[in-house]
Symmetry: C2
Subunit: 230 residues, 2 copies
DNA sequence: ACGCTGCATACTGTATGCACTTGAAACACC
DNA sequence: GGTGTTTCAAGTGCATACAGTATGCAGCGT
């Protein structure tokens, strides 16, 4: 791990604690902090060049978000997701995303253009990590016009909670599975003005999306548990 | 520290900050803290007999949960829900609850017994505030066997976020609207082993449930805005 | 009388210090 | 050699102290 001991990272945001929260969030999703890893408050504070207080606040908020767990007198650690919990997260998307799309209705032309552009970018992107971000953006754009913002925020939250494992898988297996074909079918239905068909296709897309990641974690889980036991 | 002459909260939990979070949560739902009200850290700390540090941690976590908002240099305040946001919360229940029930399947006999008992208690409860709790319990019990715990937790979170307004309405209008009839229809379908019918009835139940609260807030909203402007 | 400016106060945001708990290594004992 | 005990270091949890910022008010000027 690259640690610049004395000069902290940018920490641009107004509140220091928000900045710390962002920094730790980033560490979690991109794998610098592994599953179940314990966070040392003083080291974190030193590394970021701030005191323990804003660090503790940030960690508390991340715990409230579900990214960390706090065990009494032992501080915070990265909350590991079980394979079954990850599966449950993915199982909600076939329910929520089509509903959001139905509420959003057929997107306007400029959004359809953007969706096609994003899908071409997805096909063209070599970096699998970048592909994950583009895929997320595609789904975000698809439901951008949904009037139920609580639902949109909910879907975003599901995406955030699963992203860490998608990235971890992509780091191991370099071959990204792209859903460009399924996206194209959804777009075709939308162009035809067939909202029902688009929602059905989106549902299928969401049903298949999570399977490889869950399978990967399920296969990997016993190994991790064994490591932890030793 | 001056021993508090008035110590309203037990503060039982192991962590002080958790206890504070619970206390503030309770203050919000039962109306001691009104919409948009600002929280003074020192007064809160004194009243609960602790220092500011755990208070700040608790407030930060409540903000992460969405119960409070933090405005820079002005601290935390109770996050008011707009009528439309409240409506969006209620609009998700007809989607989520039936799905959870379908995943749960027909409940075992002892759960059905419990549901009928709760429904009779709902009909018999005079106190409208107690009735809200019983109704929530009924819906919790209905989906208790749902294997997707993320979904169950999600529904609980929606219940928490709306409860404050249900209680506020019940305080004004003392007449509670009981859904015992709709519950009975759902139970009848479950007794018949007809899961589809039960889910459909539950969907209707959820579609009608939120309307009066949303209407109440929508009617009340301009008045509140005017008060705040003055 | 009205508005503007500067000051005082209150409160938030951050840092630091202290006590207590926990985990583990060293040690004694079996 | 293995096991139970003691001691000690590391680290969290809470309290307090300090600094920066917004807000209300008084006084001044017009």
């Amino acid at each position: 791990m690259s640690l610049s001991k004395h000069e902290p990272q940018a920490l641009k945001r107004a509140n220091v604690s928000d900045a710390v929260a962002d920094a730790v969030r980033a560490m979690i999703v991109d794998g610098r902090l592994g599953d179940g890893e314990r966070l040392n408050e003083v080291r974190l504070a030193e590394r970021l060049g701030v005191s323990r207080t804003p660090v503790r606040e940030a960690l508390g908020r991340l715990a409230a978000e579900g990214a960390l767990t706090s065990t009494p007198s032992r501080g915070y650690s990265v909350r590991p997701l079980t394979a079954s919990e990850l599966q449950q997260l993915y199982e909600l998307r076939p329910l929520l995303d089509p509903h959001a799309l139905r509420l959003a209705g057929i997107p306007p032309a400029r959004t359809l253009d953007r969706l096609e552009k994003l899908n071409r970018a997805l096909a063209a992107t070599a970096d699998p990590l970048r592909a994950i971000a583009v895929d997320d953006d595609w789904h975000r754009a698809l439901i951008a016009h949904c009037p139920n913002l609580v639902l949109v925020e909910l879907i975003e939250s599901l995406m955030r909670r699963t992203r860490r494992y998608e990235i971890a898988l992509m780091r191991e297996r370099r071959n990204a599975v792209r859903a460009t074909g399924e996206h194209a079918r959804i777009l075709a239905a939308l162009h035809d003005g067939d909202l029902d068909a688009a929602c059905a296709a989106l549902k299928r897309n969401m049903e298949t999306g999570g399977a490889p990641i869950v399978a990967w974690l399920r296969e990997r889980e016993p190994r991790v548990a064994a490591e932890r036991a030793s």
